[in-house]
Symmetry: D2
Subunit: 238 residues, 4 copies
C-alpha cells in the first residue's frame, strides 16, 4: 500500500484526478471503474473540463461497481443516476463507453469484465464502517465475486436501502448488487480517496494493516498495487 | 484464479517448469521466489539441465521466502539447505544471484525486496492444512509482512520445529521466519503446485473460494494473478 | 536486444518453445503471432504434445503475419497451409482461436489487432537477406503497416512467388500480404530464432546494430523487448 | 502512435503534465527522462507546485538525456543548467533522485539505466529539422546508443555549439553527448510535445509515417507506445 497524505481536500481531489488521468492516457483501450457518492465530487469537478469532448480519451471504458435499483422503476438506479449527474453527463461521456452493472447482469458481470480484458483501474471511496462499493460489514465475504445483497443481510438493511432511495418507501428495493471483494482485488490498480475526521479511524486501521472481514476494506491492503490518498484530517490518528 | 488440471504429476511438473521458465525469460532483471519441500522436486529436476551454465538466465535473481534456522549453527537453515540440494547446487546458480532471507534480516526483508524492484514471480507449494511458506494456521495474520514465528505460536509448534530439523533436539530452534501473507500478495504473479489425494481437500477449498485466516492459503484466491496447477488426484474432489 | 546463444539447434528449439509457452501461460487472453517456414519446425514439434487438447491454453489467440494466396483458389494460402501442417492441425488448435490474415482483410488488419487488445508476442524467423515476415528488401518501408506487395516490387518477385507456390505457374499469385515493419514493432515482445551458418551474416549484422532499410530485420534491434535466439553456427561470426 | 491534438499550447501543457504525473504515480520506483528547452516550459510551470515538497513522489528518479558541456568549466552543462532552472530547482527535487548524464559517463550510460531497471517514461520535444535529444540529422544513426557527437559531425556544428553556449566562444565545447535513437526506443513509454506553426511540417511527417534517418524523429513512430501531443497550429498541415 502506498499512502499519500495531502494537506487538504483540494489536494486530495487533485491527486485523485492525476491518478485517474494517468490511467486514462493509454495508447489502447483502458477499463476503469469509478465511485459514486460525495467523496469524489471534487475529483469529478476537476475532471469534467479536462475530459469533455476530448476525443483522445475515446479509449477509456467506464464501469460502475455497484447499483441500488429504484423499486418499480426501469432504467438507472441510485449509483448510475449519481454517476451521470456527477460525471458522465457534465463530461459528456459517450454512452457506448459506459458499461452498466445492474440487477439484470450482475451474475455474469465478472465474466463480462474478464472478456473485456479486465479492469485496469478503480477509484474507490470508503465508509466510516469500512465498507467500499456495496461491501458493507456482514453483507459480502472476502471470497465473493459480484453479488446480490438482500434486505435480510443485516437487521438495518431495510433502513439503509430506504435512505439510499431518499426515504421514499415506494422506491425502496429489497436488494442491491455490488462487485465483491474478490472482484475488486482482480483490478490491476486500486486508488482510494478519503477525507475528513470521520474517516480518521478507517485510515488508522488501514495503515495498521489488520485484515478482517468485519472491516471489509482492510482486505485491500494486501493488494499488490493499492494507493490510499487522504487529507490531513483523515490522517490525524496516524 | 486460473486453475490448471494436469493428468498426472509429471505434467504438473512440466507446466510448473513452463511457468517458471516463462518468468525467467525477460530482457532485464527478474526477481523470483521459489519453494523448497517435496512437491517441487520434479519441477527442479526438469529445470536443472535447462538452467545450468546458461548465461542467458543471468538476469534472474532468486529469493527464499522462509527459513528455519538450525539451533547453534551458523550458515544456512532448513529451507536454504533444501533449496541448495534440490536446485541451486545442481543448477550451479551463481551465489550472487541468491538473496537469502534468514533470522538476521527478516525484519527489513520486505523493504529489501521493494528496493530490488519487487518480486515478479513466486512458485509456491501448499500444505494439507492450508499453509504456504511458513504461514501455518494460527501463526501469521493476513495483514502480516515478513515475520518471526515463535515456538509458542501454537501448542504443537515445538514438535513441528523438531520435525523440520530431522528430530534432532539439539538443532531445534525456537522460531522460524517467513514472508507473510501480505508479502506474498505483493508479488506480481503467483503460481502454486499441488498433487496427490492428500491435497484434494485443499484444492476443493481454493476452488470454492471461501477466504478465511484459519485456512491461510485461501487469501491467495483474491490475488489478481494467481495460477493453481494440480494433478487429477488433487482435483478429484472438484 | 537480448542475445541467446545456444549450443545447437535442439537447444534453440527448446528455448524458443520456453519463450512461447511463457507467453501463453497468462491468466487472461493473450494474442500471439507465429512464423511458418522451416526454422520453427523443431519448436512446433516440441510444442505440439504440450499444447494439444490442453484446455488451459484456451486463452491463447493465434495470428498469422503474412500470406501468399494460391492464384485461382479459395481458402488458405501458403503461410496458413504451412502453419496448419506444422502446428495448428497436429496441436488441434480450435479454429475459433486462429485469426487469419489474407488478401480480404489485410487493409484493416492493424485495426483488427488493436481492437483485439494488440499482439503480446511474436515468434519470428529471419532470412539470409535480412527479411522477416514478408518484409523483403525493397518491398516494404520501415513505416509501413500491413501491406500488399505486388509482383513488380522487385525484378525477381515473380520468381520468388513462383517458388513459394511450388513452381506451379497456374498457382502463382501476383502479390502477397504481410504485416509491415511498423506492425511488428507494435508487438509487446519479439522473439526471433535463427540457426545454421547461412544465418551467421544476418546475426552479425543484428549484433553490430546498424539499422538500414536495405536489411529490413535491423529495425527490430531498436525494439524495447527483442530477444534473438541463435545456435553456435549462426553465432560463428560474432 | 497515438496523436493528441489540443486546441492551444495551454492544453498541450496540461495534457503533457497529465501524462508525466501519471507516470510518476507508481507504487515503486519509476525512472523518467525529461527534456530541456523552450517547449516544455509550460509543462514544468504546471508541474512545479504539484511536485514541490510532495514526499509521495519520492519514488521518482530523473535522468537527463543529453548534455552540452561548457568548455573549461566543471559542473553542469547546458542541458542540466536549463533543467535545474526550469524544473529541478523550483520544484526542489532532491539531488539524489537526479541521475546526470555528462561527458564522464556517457559511454556506460545505457548500462547504468539498464541496471536501474530501465527508463519507464520520457518527455520529448522535437525540432523543426526532425531532431530530438541531441539526435540531429547526420549526427547519430538509428542503431546508436548513447553517443558523443563531435564538432566535425556536420559543417554547421561549430555554429550550433556556439549558439548553445550563448555565443561565448570561450565556452564553446567541441562535442556534446546524447542518448541515441536506440537508447530512446528502449524506453517503455514515449511522449512528445510540439506546438506552433514551425512544427507543423514535422508533425505532418510523423503522421505520414515515413521513417528516414534524414529526419531522425520519424523512427519513434515505430515504437509500441508513442504519444504525440500537438496544438492546433502544429496540426495545421494534417
Amino acid at each position: 500500500m502506498k499512502l499519500i497524505i495531502t494537506k487538504d481536500v483540494q489536494e486530495m481531489n487533485e491527486v485523485g484526478a492525476q491518478q485517474l488521468l494517468g490511467a486514462m492516457h493509454t495508447q489502447y483501450r483502458t477499463n476503469i471503474a469509478i465511485t459514486a457518492g460525495s467523496t469524489p465530487k471534487g475529483v469529478y469537478e476537476i475532471m469534467t473540463p479536462l475530459v469533455k469532448n476530448k476525443t483522445y480519451f475515446d479509449n477509456v471504458h467506464y464501469y460502475n461497481f455497484d447499483e441500488i435499483p429504484f423499486k418499480g422503476e426501469e432504467g438507472y438506479g441510485v449509483t448510475m443516476t449519481n454517476l451521470n449527474k456527477l460525471y458522465f453527463d457534465p463530461a459528456a461521456i459517450n454512452k457506448e463507453k459506459i458499461h452498466v452493472l445492474d440487477d439484470t447482469n450482475y451474475d455474469g458481470y465478472d465474466d463480462i469484465i474478464a472478456n473485456d480484458g479486465g479492469l485496469d483501474f478503480v477509484l474507490l471511496g470508503v465508509g466510516a464502517d469500512g465498507h467500499y462499493c456495496g461491501n458493507l460489514p456482514n453483507t459480502t465475504k472476502f471470497g465473493d465475486l459480484t453479488s446480490r445483497v438482500t434486505e435480510d443481510a443485516r437487521p438495518d438493511m431495510v433502513d439503509i436501502l430506504l435512505s439510499e432511495v431518499g426515504g421514499v418507501e415506494e422506491k425502496r428495493p429489497d436488494f442491491y448488487v455490488t462487485m465483491g471483494p474478490k472482484s475488486i482485488m482482480q483490478i490491476k490498480k486500486l486508488v482510494m480517496i478519503a477525507n475528513g475526521k470521520s474517516k480518521a479511524e478507517v485510515v488508522k486501521k488501514l495503515v495498521e494493516g489488520i485484515v478482517t472481514e468485519e472491516f471489509p476494506v482492510t482486505l485491500l491492503t494486501t493488494h499488490p498495487d493499492f494507493t490510499l490518498i487522504v487529507d490531513e484530517e483523515a490522517a490525524s490518528l496516524l
